[in-house]
Symmetry: C2
DNA sequence: GATTATAGACCGACTGGTTGGTCTGTATGA
DNA sequence: TCATACAGACCAACCAGTCGGTCTATAATC
């Protein structure tokens, strides 16, 4: 990969993170990258392709990490811990990518959107798969509806990009630990009797034995 | 409020939800609203003000609901259940507002952004307050770091806008029930001994007695 | 009750500035 | 000599916002 291409990618990433995709013009990108229109369009077909490349490098990385963490562990409990840990850590490594990924993905041109969506679904399947496997084996609470639970997990992690800051009070590893603790607390079975007393009503899904 | 103004609001809401703020022109809005440029600018100072109004009506509603649910209950456990329930339900009532709220808020002009941010922080404080109160009283696990836990709660709920669909498999009330169950499972104290055995390491925050 | 005055609601052609993208030219290295 | 890498002037399209003007309804005046 050429030097200038990398520079453009890094620069535009920062600019998009700060001002959003539509808040940054190609002229601003080339100025900040120390190049020209010619340099930009030599490496990218369009501004839209640039947006796609940012999306793709990020989701490709996440997918690879999740896959790796998934295969080297055996039990669902170990898997979910490893995957969540690697996933949370991504927010430290790829913060600007992620901001763009979640904020601007609906501005992807259809053909690009399709390709990103496929990889994103693949990642989602990893999470769904682990939880599903854990429920089947009895490692995780069987009464929980898979889809809702999995989306809750994805949501709490994904939302990190909205508030995490590198110089914040907790390190990314500490945040990962807390999240894993929270997730295991609602995934792993254990006497729920003492909890039911505190609930205003017994949840609809508890009768699924 | 005038008829046309409402029409413009509803129409643009739908359009923004589908194509994003920058994916919709004022001309498209007026065409879809059956009016003209003149009609539009008679009711709104600018396209930016329209964006602000959408943000404001939504966050004002959420804040009011949360406040109400917060005061009529006494224990932290009851409060968190009520607030989460009302919060989750919002995603059924205000789905387009929410999409715009979370997708386009960084395109708000500074003066508008400031006003929205204030209300959003107010809402965040309600959640933080309840969890903090619960930890002090011993209703909730004291070892959990407040900030991280609260953001996890906010994250899992907020993310609903990305996947919830009215005709989906679970109703909004069912989703709320599941979420409350999950949250109570990690907030309420209970023997964690059996969980620790499944964790790859004891979390850093467990020694805070 | 007829006429006039006034205000608010709305219309739509027009504009000034911006933006993504193109095209021709040049430098460099093989 | 040819291909690649980049420069920067230029362009056509687009878009938020403006502005002079119309239409309607209600109020004021006689």
């Amino acid at each position: 990969m050429s030097r200038l291409r990398s520079t453009i990618l890094e620069t535009s990433l920062q600019l998009f993170d700060q001002h959003g995709f539509h808040g940054v013009t190609v002229n601003q990108i080339v100025a900040a990258s120390g190049t020209s229109k010619g340099g930009f369009y030599h490496h990218f077909q369009s501004k839209d392709e640039l947006l796609f490349v940012i999306h793709d490098t990020f989701i490709t990385y996440v997918l690879k990490e999740a896959g790796a963490a998934n295969v080297i562990h055996t039990s669902p409990t170990a898997k979910i811990q490893a995957v969540i840990h690697s996933f949370v850590k991504v927010f430290d490594l790829y913060k600007p990518h992620i901001s763009v990924f979640y904020q601007e993905s609906n501005y992807l041109k259809p053909e690009y959107e399709e390709r990103i969506k496929r990889k994103r679904d693949e990642f989602k399947d990893v999470i769904f798969g682990i939880i599903h496997e854990g429920q089947k084996s009895g490692d995780f609470r069987k009464e929980l509806p898979l889809e809702v639970t999995a989306m809750a997990v994805l949501g709490m992690v994904n939302w990190i990009y909205k508030w995490y800051q590198q110089d914040g009070r907790y390190s990314i590893d500490e945040i990962a630990e807390v999240y894993i603790d929270l997730i295991l607390h609602f995934l792993l079975p254990g006497s729920s009797d003492h909890l039911i007393r505190h609930m205003s009503k017994v949840p609809f899904f508890y009768d699924i034995k």
